[in-house]
């Protein structure tokens, strides 16, 4: 029997799951040591201070225990073998600014993923990273003229060493956690964004991260500086083919938003289910500045990610709006951290999670108000939907309040798909899978409506496939 749902799923594998033949200019052997770190730094022609920073971070990485128990820890990390990973894979010589100069097979990869098309249609700039390096990078001339900088991070370091000395690693120091240390030791690629005073980039910049090789480690490093009164929306997407062995994606994203600036950072993470996705993302928002993390986690084996906003100036705002979907074998351990370090600061966390087919979702969130941060307001809402008896969800809120004037509202719901909702929709002709998708998409709608339309459509399609794939 022809089953349209099945066709869709096969179509999807051709879209995300395809593998390219390996044709690299350099691929480090498996494992991690100081020599590999030196090689990376040397091949990139980095200044000595960066090499020293990397080597110091490597020491910290070795010293810090793997967080498999305690707070902000996950026992599944024990499955990760750090010596079974390639830490640096160089697909080409440099980041090109014309797709015609990108090696054919890599260009085809991004064509299949629809990146050049999206760039033509609605983006201000695009970065495309393949394995360890950014292979394509461009920014529309109109924004370049206004002084906007959008580069791959390696080029950024070369061209703006002063900005890097001032900001790199100041928001997330190497010693912050084991994976921040790892990233600092072996980082490669990522985006460097600077938006000058008062410039409002009103269409998004996008970076796309693709892992192709098996046992790959991708460690991009992103630094975004939004100057006073400036605005930017940065979007990232990520995919990889499925392998039976583990791969590792461990990024660090640091964002600085000066007085009155605004930044939105949108992620749609659809990694293959053999990837450990261990990411540290943190923004500092100064006076009247605002930071919004819009964070969608659909793929990966284990994701641990808690985007943070440190509100360090009066009137700063922080928001995290996230969804997580965990299917078979997946654990989405995601949440948010809000630190109120100044008066009259406001934060909001909205987390929606769906687990199915034995998947597990964890919401882990920190809401912290430091002494002197008067009249802080925190609002946390987390809603979990569990679709069957094999799946699970936990909510772990940490609240540290050192100011009596703080207002904290925390609301958490855990629900199963109601028989009444399913029956109501089915009584109008929808089959069980369609009814289920409709309920789940509706549940995620507060997230989806914040996405650019193209991404909303794509996310809905992914969720529909997950629902169809397991009914009947």
């Amino acid at each position: 029997m022809s089953n349209p749902a099945q066709n869709e799923i096969e179509f999807d594998y051709s879209k995300y799951g395809f593998r390219d033949e390996e044709n690299y200019t350099f691929k480090s052997s498996k494992g991690l040591n100081a020599d590999i770190v030196r090689t990376i730094s040397e091949m990139k022609g980095e200044p000595e201070w960066m090499l020293q920073r990397r080597l110091k971070a490597l020491e910290i990485f070795h010293k810090k225990p793997l967080p498999v128990s305690g707070v902000w820890a996950n026992p599944r990390l024990a499955e990760l073998d750090f010596q079974d990973i390639h830490y640096y894979v160089r697909p080409g010589e440099r980041a090109e600014n014309s797709w015609d100069d990108v090696p054919e097979n890599i260009k085809n990869t991004f064509e299949k993923l629809g990146i050049p098309e999206a760039e033509r249609k609605f983006l201000a700039g695009v970065g495309a990273q393949y394995e360890s390096e950014v292979v394509y990078h461009s920014l529309r001339e109109e924004w370049e003229k206004l002084g906007v900088i959008f580069l791959d991070t390696d080029t950024g370091l070369k061209e703006y060493p002063e900005l890097f000395k001032e900001y790199f690693g100041t928001i997330i120091p190497s010693a912050d956690n084991k994976f921040a240390a790892l990233n600092t030791a072996v980082w490669s690629g990522g985006s460097f964004v600077y938006v000058p005073k008062g410039v409002k980039v009103d269409i998004p910049l996008q970076a796309y991260f693709r892992i192709n090789a098996e046992n790959m480690g991708q460690f991009e490093r992103t630094l975004i500086i939004v100057d006073e009164g400036a605005e930017v929306h940065y979007i990232e997407g990520c995919t990889a083919p499925v392998y039976s062995t583990n791969s590792l994606h461990s990024a660090v994203v640091e964002i600085i938003i000066k007085k009155g600036g605004k930044c939105r950072y949108t992620t749609i993470q659809n990694w293959a289910n053999n990837i450990f996705n261990l990411v540290t993302k943190r923004a500092v928002a100064y006076e009247d500045a605002s930071m919004e993390w819009v964070d969608g986690n659909i793929g990966s084996k284990l994701t641990m990610k808690y985007p943070a906003v440190y509100m360090m100036g009066r009137g700063a705002k922080g928001e995290v709006l996230s969804v997580a979907y965990a299917g078979e074998g997946q654990h989405q351990d995601a949440g948010a951290k809000m630190v109120h370090g100044a008066p009259d600061t406001t934060s909001r966390i909205t987390n929606k999670s769906v687990s199915k087919n034995g998947g597990r979702t964890t919401y882990r969130g920190l809401a912290k108000v430091q002494r002197g941060a008067h009249n802080a307001k925190i609002n946390v809402v987390c809603d979990a939907l569990i679709l069957d008896d094999r799946s699970a969800s936990d909510t772990i809120p940490y609240i540290e309040i050192e100011e009596d004037s703080a207002t904290v509202a925390h609301e958490a719901t855990v629900g199963k798909i109601g028989e009444e909702q399913l029956f109501y929709l089915m009584s109008r002709g929808l089959d069980e899978a369609e009814a289920l998708s409709m309920i789940v998409l509706g549940f995620m709608e507060p997230f989806t409506r914040e996405l650019p339309m193209e991404y909303a459509v794509e996310l809905n399609r992914l969720i529909q496939m997950e629902m169809e794939g397991s009914v009947g």
């Binding site: 029956f423 929709l425 089915m426 009584s427 002709g429 009814a435 549940f443 995620m444």
Partner: protein, 263 residues
Amino acid sequence: MSANNLVIRNLHVAVDGKEILKGINLTIEEGKIHAIMGPNGSGKSTLAYTLAGHPRYEVTEGEVWYKGQDVLDLEPNDRSKLGLFLAFQYPVAVAGVTVANFLRAALNAHRAQEGVDPKSTAIPMAEYRKVIKSRMDMLEMAPDFARRYLNEGFSGGEKKRLEILQMAMLQPSISIMDETDSGLDIDALKIVAEGVNKVKAEKPELGVLVITHYQRLLNYIKPDYVHVLMNGQIVREGGPEMALELEEKGYDFIREEVFGNAS
């Protein structure tokens, strides 16, 4: 007998192991309006849910035939596609799903054909907009209604009107109205009843089963037959005049006649 009649034979239904319907025999005729009246707890809603296929209602005996199919073998969605429609007494809210998107999905589910790419049978967007607008105009609904989330924050009257809109869109051949009058003031009741009459006028072959506790809805939707349900059985059948008699005398006189004074 027409295959387009819905025929219920000796229907026994249990909920959580307790028998609620105890041998219902009832034929809903093509194009006719039947009213089922009965006191609270008599099994009226159980009958409605059972016909629509709610999984909590367990059929222990009996059969239901419609268009040559044993309805009880079908999933709720297949019953809908066969032409059965239930207007819920308590319509269910689904957050984040707009009325317009839901109705389009429902319409497309009805248009879908086994083995055919659903994209090729789906209603084109422009045509859909036209259809929903004309249906909403007919029911005197404001355009923003279609953009609201399904029953989220709807008043009692709005919920019932949405049920009628769904009926008008899906064009069923048997419509079961489960206590559509409950929770409505008289103005809302009139609007809803007019909606049903308009749909019925457009499609005279539509068979309707109006389930109600009170007679007042039947002032606006005129039944051809009235059946009285009590204690899980149909105990009286008659014409529209019986509704008035019930209104006047209450259910007790029938209870006494049927079950004696023991209760």
